[in-house]
Symmetry: C2
Subunit: 140 residues, 2 copies
DNA sequence: GAGCCTATCGCGAATGGTCGCAATAGCCTT
DNA sequence: AAGGCTATTGCGACCATTCGCGATAGGCTC
């Protein structure tokens, strides 16, 4: 199924803006914010508004083409959905961000599935806490 | 150490606004938003501004008197810090919120401590996923 | 109790993100 | 190729939250 087909199959339309937003996310090496995407899209299509970018990110998310992650600030980070999944540890003291292997998430997910019949998406939000360095140096 | 003493010990001052914000959080039965706190405080102190409420919540958080949690919406929920800790499961389909026992969090936390030397605060953000009901009825 | 230092206040602007609306434009049908 | 239905757009207002500023007021010292 082509991109156009899968977009239309969901009752949506394939607009130029939607294609440009998707391309911008796919081309980005790491996680990008909506504002960064908007700036990149505007370089080729200057009239695009911020709300169009947000709405398209949400639509592409529902289509399974992109996903987003919440680190500990208020900004949402977007990335393509076909990358290997991974979790994030964020230190609330120094702000350090570490990626963790999916195997660790999977082990934690199993317990929630077994005990709560809940299918968690542990990559959706970063796990906030205190990293090794900041824990070893209490500094208080 | 009294409240006044512990506030002053951190180089802070005990203002009327700060006391009212703390009382409002302590009196709330469940998690409350900053806006709900602001409305309650304004009933006795109408001139208080929103930013004062936010700043005081942050100060009280740093003092260890209140804490906050992020569910899957855009608003922060506040509650007193001396309650038993618990985690949250939030269904991204139907929005259902479930509390989970600290023991489950503790088991997950152990792995992050052991493998990453990271002390996680798993109650800080809700775990987003799909609940039993929405998983059993794919509806797609 | 008065004076001083500065934490805190209220205000207004800014930020990241969402929403309602009228105008535009995909895409299906003919 | 034209017409019509409606998803989507750009816009502006709004929401939750933060920040910079000059004014106010805790609380320490004398």
């Amino acid at each position: 199924m082509t991109l156009a087909e899968s977009v239309r199959a969901s009752g949506r339309r394939l607009t130029l803006q939607r294609q440009l937003v998707l391309e911008a996310v796919q081309r980005a090496r790491h996680h990008v914010t909506a504002d960064e995407i908007a700036r990149r899209v505007r370089s080729r299509f200057p009239a695009i508004g911020p709300s169009t970018v947000y709405r398209n990110l949400q639509a592409l998310d529902e289509l399974g083409l992109v996903t987003h992650t919440h680190l500990d600030d208020r900004v949402t980070r977007w990335h393509r959905a076909d990358r290997h999944p991974h979790g994030h540890l964020v230190c609330r003291v120094c702000g350090e961000e570490t990626e963790i292997r999916p195997a660790v998430l999977e082990a934690m997910a199993k317990r929630l599935r077994d005990e709560h019949h809940f299918e968690p998406d542990l990559a959706h939000s970063a796990i906030v806490g205190v990293c090794r360095r900041c824990r070893d140096v209490p500094s208080s």
